[in-house]
């Protein structure tokens, strides 16, 4: 149904992409090979053990692109993705090339602060254990806090939206305390909570909970009253009205809250890890800066970007599943 119109819209675009496929793919392949050549052949100022590895990787990417170019139309989904992203792959190679040139080769950017790509590749290859462990710790902390905050936020939001009494008591508190950035609680939290881990979980939950509460509440308050009339005439209990009418009707708002909460929770997570918890990506960043290990800093930033983006994608996937009945959803 929805996919029908989507497919109709995509078809002509794909057709055009298929027409200019070989040229674009060849160009992208060539760009990667050029990157490999420049990395390998030009003299560099400094000692980078992974220059060769980076050149080899680039060469492999270039050759793969050249080899796949004529096959792409037979590769189904992966092929379609490749065709669609070919211009991006080409620009990526050129960006790497520029980066390589201004750092390792020409030294236009001051060296320790702006490492070349091979230095970051080196971090991934040599330090993946610590980096991976930090990511895992970050994810654990984030997941715990986020889930607690989201659950509490939805529950509180529904309660405020539904019950006059809860609204009467909770609204002023929410208005007074809610807008305070969760990070402001940090010194107090680390002092009050038994461990820095529980303090950070609390902070992440707080950062998540506020937007989720407010948006769930406004979602529930804004539910078309006629929906309740319909359910009431059909013999619905209070429980049914809340769980089967108010919550699903408010779900689009809830997801906006969950999205905002996720963004807020990232910020709090990093700060909490930098200042309190001695693990996680935030701490890794801090540690790398302390040792002037700038390549590690960039590597951790890349991992963090991947993690945040991945989590947001996950949230949007969940939303698309649950809200498939809505028209015109924003694509992430």
């Amino acid at each position: 149904m929805a996919s029908l119109s989507e497919g109709a819209g995509l078809a002509p675009r794909e057709g055009r992409a298929a027409g200019r496929l070989p040229l674009a793919a060849l160009g992208a392949g060539a760009a990667w090979i050029a990157l490999a050549a420049a990395t390998q052949l030009l003299p560099e100022a400094g000692d980078f053990p992974y220059t060769g590895a980076f050149a080899t990787t680039s060469l492999a990417a270039g050759l793969a692109l050249l080899a796949l170019a004529p096959l792409a139309h037979r590769l189904g989904h992966a092929g379609a993705w490749l065709r669609h992203r070919t211009p991006w792959l080409a620009v990526l190679a050129l960006a790497f090339l520029a980066w390589e040139l201004v750092t390792a080769k020409l030294e236009w950017l001051p060296m320790p602060f702006f490492p070349p790509p091979q230095a970051i590749l080196e971090v991934f290859a040599e330090d993946w254990r610590k980096l991976g462990g930090s990511t895992l710790n970050s994810l654990k902390l984030l997941a715990g806090g986020y889930l607690i905050g989201a659950a509490a936020g939805v529950a509180l939001g529904v309660a405020i939206g539904w019950s006059r009494t809860v609204g009467y008591w909770a609204h002023p508190v929410l208005r007074f305390v809610g807008p305070l950035p969760a990070t402001a609680w940090l010194p107090l939290a680390f002092f009050v909570f038994p461990s820095s881990w529980s303090a950070s979980t609390f902070l992440v939950a707080l950062a998540t909970g506020f937007p989720v509460t407010v948006l769930t509440w406004s979602g529930v308050a804004g539910v078309n009253k006629a929906y309740f009339d319909v359910a009431r005439t059909l013999g619905a209990s209070q429980r049914f009205l809340v769980l089967r009418v108010a919550v699903p009707a408010a779900l689009p708002h809830v997801f906006v809250g969950l999205f905002m909460g996720l963004g807020g929770s990232f910020a709090v997570l990093v700060v909490a890890e930098m200042l309190g918890v001695k693990s996680g990506l935030g701490w890794y960043l801090q540690w790398a800066q302390g040792w002037a290990a700038y390549a590690n800093l960039y590597a951790a930033l890349i991992v963090m970007a991947l993690m945040c983006s991945g989590l947001i994608t996950l949230l949007f996937r969940l939303r698309d599943r649950l809200l498939s009945w809505q028209k015109g959803l924003v694509q992430w």
Binding site: V230, A231, L234, G235, V245, A249
Partner: protein, 287 residues
């Protein structure tokens, strides 16, 4: 003339339309399995008055409305826009208590909403997050009716000619289809009193005629008590046994007109034409 032309088209279309509506089941078993006849309820409305508060000033909407409908009767409430028809239906459904007066069903006072008295709203108000089937099974779920929900929803959707759209979402339906889905959502609960708030208001002329015939068929088959709100005089005369005229706000019963013609009725029946003129005169319209 236009009406007559429509009618002829309709007479041609209806058999096909019915055939389409019943295509699924071959042979004698095509109808839904028989259920114990519940029968209609007796509705009593005694001196019901109601007012809304609009920024501190009371707006009287109903003024001592009296109405009795015998079990299985079909009554049409006719009146101009804003005279209080929907308000009266909401009170009958038990969604709001009247300011004064008494509403009874089989002698029992109406004290809140109940699935035995169902209101088909002026807007279809389907739940957009549920499929058509999910909307129709809503009452069964809300009351925790176990068992053949899917089947009953399917039967109700067949009744209104929506088979094949069970898994569609409301935004994929036309306005008329949504109205029919809303009707199925009520019918599946086998109400004893069915309150219809302009359920055919959004339909095109042809579908409207077809739906009127279907409504009549459903009513004669299920024998529920029906109260239909409309501002279409012809619709009231073709469908109802009695037409109640509420000519202005606050609404009160100005005329209670028995339409003693057998079903199916034809719009150009001279008796109906005469009644139509009479009603329009009561409503203050030149004829």
């Amino acid at each position: 003339m236009v009406a007559a032309a429509l009618e002829r088209t309709f007479d041609r279309l209806l058999p096909q339309w019915r055939a389409a509506a019943r295509r699924d089941g071959p042979g004698p078993t095509r109808e839904a399995p028989p259920r114990p006849a519940v029968g209609g309820a007796r509705l009593g409305v005694r001196a019901v008055s109601h007012a809304f508060d609009i920024r501190g000033t009371p707006l009287p909407v109903l003024d001592r409305v009296d109405l009795d409908v015998e079990p299985g009767g079909f009554v049409a409430l006719l009146g101009p826009s804003g005279c209080g028809k929907s308000t009266l239906l909401r009170l009958l459904a038990g969604l709001e208590p009247p300011d004064s007066g008494r509403i009874t069903l089989d002698g029992q006072p109406v004290e809140g909403p109940d699935p035995s008295r169902l209101l088909v709203f002026q807007d279809p108000t389907l739940y957009p997050w549920r499929t058509v089937r999910g909307n129709v099974t809503l009452g069964l779920e809300a009351r925790g009716v176990a068992g053949d929900r899917r089947e009953r929803a399917g039967a109700a959707l067949r009744l209104v000619g929506l088979e094949g759209f069970e898994d569609a979402y409301p935004h994929q339906l036309s306005g008329g289809m949504a109205q029919r889905a809303a009707l199925a959502r009520a019918l599946v609960n086998e109400p004893r009193l069915l309150l219809l708030d302009e359920p055919l208001g959004k339909l095109d002329a042809l579908t409207r005629l077809a739906m009127q015939a279907e409504l009549l068929r459903l009513w004669r088959e299920k024998r529920f008590t029906a109260v239909l709100v409309t501002h279409d005089v012809e619709e009231a005369l073709v469908l109802a046994e009695r037409v109640i005229v509420l000519p202005d706000r606050p609404a009160s019963v100005r005329a209670d007109i028995a339409v003693g013609r057998p079903y199916p009725r034809h719009r150009d029946d001279p008796e109906l034409v005469r009644l139509r003129r009479e009603i329009l005169a009561i409503l203050g319209q030149p004829t």
